[in-house]
């Protein structure tokens, strides 16, 4: 009796899970459908196949500029956040120091602050100091919100690191820098790359901070926001969204694969989300 009871609840749960996945993927599936649809309105029924909307993207100068700006911001934010995140993650995993809990907690705070608070909090000093808004101000904001993600990813990499390997290297007369470069870095490299990719993806998609802190040069999400008002631009936006979706999936698959390979190499059991929790 127990058995059959569990069977029906399992069946219902499976049905629910499938329905939920349909709900999750509904918008994502529509994106490529409309991107290749040969009509100027984003609505059903679909009228035919075209790649015109993708071709139109290359001819839009403002868009090409926005993509370039976004790439600059995302690369800079990813590199800076990963560097700062790595040193904090290493400090937390390897050393005991006074005030560790509060300091790490404060560094992780942007994870739970509403983005609009981070955005206006950064905007106020910039206005007061009379600084002009530029891509640099956006980068500063993105580094701030990317650091917690970087730490989350890298702390598992540093925790899994066997200290005796570094000690062995130091005992063998290798310098500190040499030890870092030849022992530590190769071992945490997959984590570092994974962090770079995740930070890059977050920055590329971040809207709220970019919206408040961007000057005349806009990033991609800010550009998309400005275009959503114009119905004729929508099919192009769908095409753009499709490309972004494809790019994000590729980056995420690579990041996830690297993270898992690193975890396997260090011999620790890693659930797919262990790093973020």
């Amino acid at each position: 009796m127990k058995r059959s009871g569990r069977g029906t609840s399992a069946r219902w749960l499976t049905i629910y899970a499938v329905a939920y996945m349909v709900f999750l993927y509904a918008p994502v599936v529509l994106l490529p459908l409309f991107a290749f649809n040969d009509a100027t309105v984003v609505a059903f029924p679909l009228s035919g196949f075209t790649t015109d909307w993708f071709a139109a993207l290359w001819r839009t100068e403002a868009l090409v500029d926005a993509v370039r700006n976004s790439l600059v911001v995302a690369v800079a934010a990813a590199v800076l956040a990963t560097t700062l995140g790595a040193s904090a993650a290493r400090a937390a995993a390897r050393y005991r120091f006074p005030g560790k809990g509060p300091v790490m907690g404060f560094i992780m705070l942007p994870l739970v602050l509403p983005e609009i608070i981070v955005a206006v909090a950064l905007l106020v000093p910039i206005m007061q100091l009379g600084l002009s808004l530029s891509l640099w101000t956006v980068i500063a904001g993105h580094v701030l919100i990317c650091i917690p993600f970087s730490i989350a990813i890298l702390s598992s990499a540093f925790q899994g690191l066997d200290i005796s390997l570094e000690e062995a290297s130091l005992d063998l007369e290798e310098s500190r820098w040499g030890t870092f470069r030849r022992v530590t870095l190769p071992l945490v490299m997959p984590g570092v790359i994974s962090s770079l990719l995740i930070c890059f993806t977050i920055s590329l998609d971040e809207f709220m901070i970019a919206f408040f802190l961007t000057g005349t040069e806009v990033t991609l999400p800010v550009y998309i926001w400005s275009q959503l008002r114009f119905p004729t631009k929508l099919p192009s936006i769908m095409a753009l969204g499709t490309l972004l979706l494809a790019l994000s999936i590729v980056l995420l698959v690579v990041a996830e694969w690297l993270r898992r390979r690193a975890a396997r190499r260090q011999g620790i059991e890693a659930s797919a989300i262990g790093g973020l929790m």
Binding site: P27, P98, I116, T201, L252
Partner: protein
């Protein structure tokens, strides 16, 4: 305190230093400034630096701000409740029923959230619109005679869109909490004669509570600060406090009032979060 520990502390502080300084400069100082700023006033083009509570009086007494604040909180709470309730069975399913390919399921759940947030929200507008995907499908199937209008440009649309936007953030913490539950406790409850429902209420739910509280806070706090979804799918009745903050910093050119609204919103959501956290601690975590 020995020398060794001192050196260890120094190394640790040196290593965490740059990141901590960055957070202090880019987060602590700005947060301090925005609080100070909220006590100043906008005097046409200049900022009057006399400390005053005027902005807070306006923010808490004028009906428009009060209405927006209350509505934002109510919408955020509804969104959070819907999101967490929808997410719990999925987390449960993943933890207790999926045996093979668990990482793949988790990956599939996170993929939609790494796509452009703006475009995802906009696609809900396409789905829910008057000539939208949902209405067209229902009309074609003959289930309705006229397009449904109660699904876009109102609170329902905001709730649905945000429940979708934050799904993964609700599922993952609950899943982690469920994974930690010692399965032998469940067997013990069963052996002692608890039925599935009783067992769930007495063992699974209390032990999953930290995850549920985590999910609740992760969804609630950022939702209070969102202005994209209200703007795109909310219509006038779906407008939230973040939209007003944005207006004050932009068109209305009253940044100090915007700052006061932002600080007030933070306080409100902070207090509510604290209550939820304490309630979760009180009612969960122990097996009764």
């Amino acid at each position: 305190m020995g020398l060794k520990l001192d050196r260890e502390a120094r190394s640790g502080l040196l290593l965490v230093g740059p990141t901590a300084i960055y957070a202090a400069l880019m987060l602590a100082a700005p947060l301090f400034m925005i609080v100070t700023f909220s006590f100043w006033t906008q005097n046409y083009l200049d900022i009057d630096r006399t400390l005053t509570l005027a902005n807070y009086r306006t923010a808490w007494s004028e009906p428009i701000y009060r209405v927006l604040m209350v509505r934002s909180l109510v919408i955020s709470l509804i969104v959070t409740a819907v999101t967490v309730l929808l997410a719990f069975p999925i987390a449960y399913f993943l933890s207790f029923h999926v045996t093979r390919r668990k990482p793949l399921w988790l990956f599939l759940i996170t993929v939609p959230f790494w796509t452009s947030y703006l475009i995802r929200v906009f696609l809900w507008k396409v789905i829910l619109g008057f000539n939208g995907v949902l209405n067209t499908a229902l009309l074609d199937l003959g289930l309705i005679d006229a397009p449904l209008t109660f699904i876009l440009y109102n609170t329902n649309a905001v709730v649905l869109t945000l429940a979708h936007a934050w799904a993964a953030f609700a599922i993952l913490p609950i899943f982690v909490a469920l994974e930690k539950i010692d399965r032998s406790l469940l067997e013990a409850a069963e052996d002692l004669g608890d039925g599935p429902l009783r067992r769930f209420l007495r063992i699974t739910l209390p032990l999953a509570m930290p995850g549920v509280v985590g999910a609740t806070l992760i969804v609630l706090i950022p939702t209070m600060g969102d202005f994209i979804t209200p703007r795109l799918v909310g219509g006038t009745e779906g407008m939230m406090i973040a939209n007003m903050i944005q207006v004050q910093f932009g068109r209305a050119n009253n940044a100090p009032l915007g700052a006061a609204l932002a600080v007030s919103a933070m306080l409100v959501v902070g207090v509510v979060s604290l209550v939820i956290y304490l309630a979760g601690r009180k009612f969960g975590g122990r097996v009764r």
